[in-house]
């Protein structure tokens, strides 16, 4: 039997599957990315419906409850995504700085080349 919270989680995952599809249609994400996100959300739906599947897996890491495993796994994933975003933001910031400074220096004549 599927409980209320599980139902909410399934509906949320289905909405995210749809959003991923929309972003793919708009060419905002590529084929590899949509496949990755779809796998994540489909696995999430399966785990929500059959939480017992992860019981043995949780036992390997000495974690008693499947919920705890999912929370820890979720945290690790979020930290990973935060790190990726941080690196991308740093690269972008550096590129913007180089571009703006290069633009402002374009009219300066090199004294050595005179």
């Amino acid at each position: 039997m599927i409980f209320g919270f599980q139902l909410i989680a399934i509906v949320f995952a289905l909405i995210m599957l749809y959003f991923a599809f929309l972003h793919y249609q708009r060419k905002e994400i590529n084929g590899m990315e949509i496949v990755s996100w779809w796998i994540i959300w489909i696995v999430t739906i399966i785990i929500v419906i059959f939480p017992g599947l992860l019981k043995d897996f949780a036992g390997v890491f000495s974690i008693t409850r499947v919920f705890d495993l999912m929370v820890i796994g979720g945290f690790i994933f979020v930290i990973f995504l935060t790190y990726k975003s941080y690196i991308k933001a740093k690269i972008l910031e550096k590129k913007i700085e180089e571009l703006v400074r290069k633009e402002s220096l374009k009219d300066i004549k090199d004294a050595k080349k005179k």
């Binding site: 700085e97 703006v100 400074r101 402002s104 220096l105 300066i108 004549k109 090199d110 004294a111």
Partner: protein, 219 residues
């Protein structure tokens, strides 16, 4: 020795004209960088016979100084004197920097502000604490860490080429001076403290502290 004055400016329409007027008697070329100001700073800068550069967006003091220094060295400068655009620094002190660069052969010259009583206590204390922390971590004691009035030779610029985009630039210059074992001197200068609200804030101070720890590990 060919010396250029480099002045970064951001939203300084109230003070920039006064600052540039005071510098009009100075014989050195002046490079002013408008760091994406939203007010009439650029309009006022372009009225003077100086080398004026503009960033299309605000990048921060560190980036503006890099642009100014690169422009100066590209145009043949042997050394640059960095000044703030808010009229805090007295052009009459410029000769002290040139003397230190030429006679004392210092690669970097740091200005040491002689403060009156109108400086907020927290800023004064923060500066002193920062000096002690930098001294403990990097073995270099600069009395006035955050003074923007300083000079550096071309060789020193190549060595201390900073990464900081914002207000951390002054601290990073000191850290890199220590790391590269550059010869430096400190000279007393006059300071006219106008604006208690502009400049390094408490939030900037926390960012700089975080950067100091990062430099201790990375550099």
């Amino acid at each position: 020795m060919k010396i250029f004055i480099v002045i970064p400016a951001y939203n300084e329409e109230e003070k920039i004209s006064e600052t540039l007027k005071k510098l009009s008697q100075i014989k050195y070329p002046i490079v002013v960088i408008d760091d994406g100001s939203k007010d009439r700073t650029w309009e006022y800068i372009t009225k003077y016979k100086i080398i004026s550069l503009k960033h299309k967006i605000n990048l921060g003091k560190g980036s503006a100084l890099k642009t100014g220094c690169e422009a100066a060295f590209k145009m043949g400068a042997d050394a640059v004197i960095l000044m703030d655009s808010d009229g805090q620094h007295d052009p009459a002190d410029i000769h002290k920097f040139t003397r230190a660069l030429k006679d004392d052969r210092a690669e970097i010259v740091f200005g040491l502000r002689e403060y009156g009583t109108d400086v907020p206590l927290i800023r004064f204390l923060g500066n002193k604490i920062a000096s002690v922390v930098i001294s403990l971590l990097f073995g270099i004691y600069i009395s006035d860490i955050l003074c923007g009035f300083r000079a550096l030779s071309r060789k020193a610029y190549e060595k201390v080429h900073w990464d900081s985009k914002g207000y951390g630039v002054e601290t990073e210059m000191i850290v890199r001076t220590a790391k590269n074992k550059l010869s430096y001197s400190q000279i007393p200068i006059q300071a006219l403290y106008h604006d208690k609200t502009k400049g390094v804030t408490l939030l900037d101070a926390f960012h700089i502290l975080f950067d100091v720890l990062k430099w201790r590990i990375n550099l």
